[in-house]
């Protein structure tokens, strides 16, 4: 399994546990805090489910590059970085923004929003061209071979 897929899956597992702990905390009045319910749902649906879909699809869908490293897999790495920067900013800033009106929290919330949308864009850039029929893949491989022969 490529390093990036392992990272997506392991990070997703951590969010899975954290989201369920938040869900549990939300059941106790003395443990709950403002914004806990949207945090619970987003860590579960984005941090866990979307993250694991991203990781597994980048690994399992046809056409991935076998070369490890940031540049050969730049869209995948950018997806990982932006998704997780977005999620972490949200975890910090959303509850904090209820407690204090400091401008920093608003900036972090905007970074979180932009980061997550950017991750969706880079993921689509990586995966869209890889969704092909067998015939399309065969033609693409043939073209690549011809290019490398010339």
């Amino acid at each position: 399994m490529p390093r990036l897929a392992r990272l997506f899956i392991k990070t997703g597992l951590i969010y899975f546990l954290v989201s369920l702990l938040l869900g549990l905390a939300a059941e106790f009045k003395w443990l709950t805090f403002p914004g806990i319910t949207p945090l619970f749902w987003h860590l579960l649906m984005v941090g866990w489910i979307t993250q694991i879909i991203f990781g597994v699809s980048m690994w399992m869908f046809p056409g991935r590059t076998r070369e490890e490293g940031f540049w050969p897999q730049k869209w995948g790495w950018l997806t990982y970085i932006m998704l997780n920067v977005g999620l972490i900013c949200r975890v910090i800033a959303e509850p904090a923004s209820y407690a204090s009106s400091a401008g920093l929290w608003n900036i972090l919330i905007v970074i979180s929003a932009v980061g997550q949308v950017a991750a969706a864009v880079t993921y689509t850039i990586e995966l869209w061209p890889r969704i092909q029929s067998k015939e399309q893949r065969r033609r693409q491989r043939k073209k690549k071979r011809q290019k490398s022969n010339n």
Binding site: M60, R90, S97, I109, V117, V121
Partner: protein, 135 residues
Amino acid sequence: MPTPSRWMIKASFIYLLVGFFIGALILVSKAYPAFTGIWSLLAVHIEVSIFGWIIQLTMGTAYWILPRYLVKPSRGNPILAIAMVALLNLGILINVASYLDLIAPSATIVGRLFEIGSVILFIGLHWNRAITYNK
């Protein structure tokens, strides 16, 4: 990858972009309450992100990746597969149109029925594909 899977997976990417974009606007509105009008799109955000993105991608991938039949058509009746794709997406779009007040609120009943129809077709197409050919 078979055609219905390609349609479902590519459609799910479009829903991912739309769902995350609406989600981002809602999140920003928490910091800047002047944009709170965007909260009216919460139901669209949930429908598009869960049914359009997560469920549709899962269904499209399962149709592609589960073990195939040893006889043709190897993934079952392709017309039923196309109907599965059409019903799911029609259901989502009807629900979204209803949440946006473009059509009657009760249209969500039709939308959900279409989605249920798609899931019934999905189960029918995949039930016997959850199989091993090893003895």
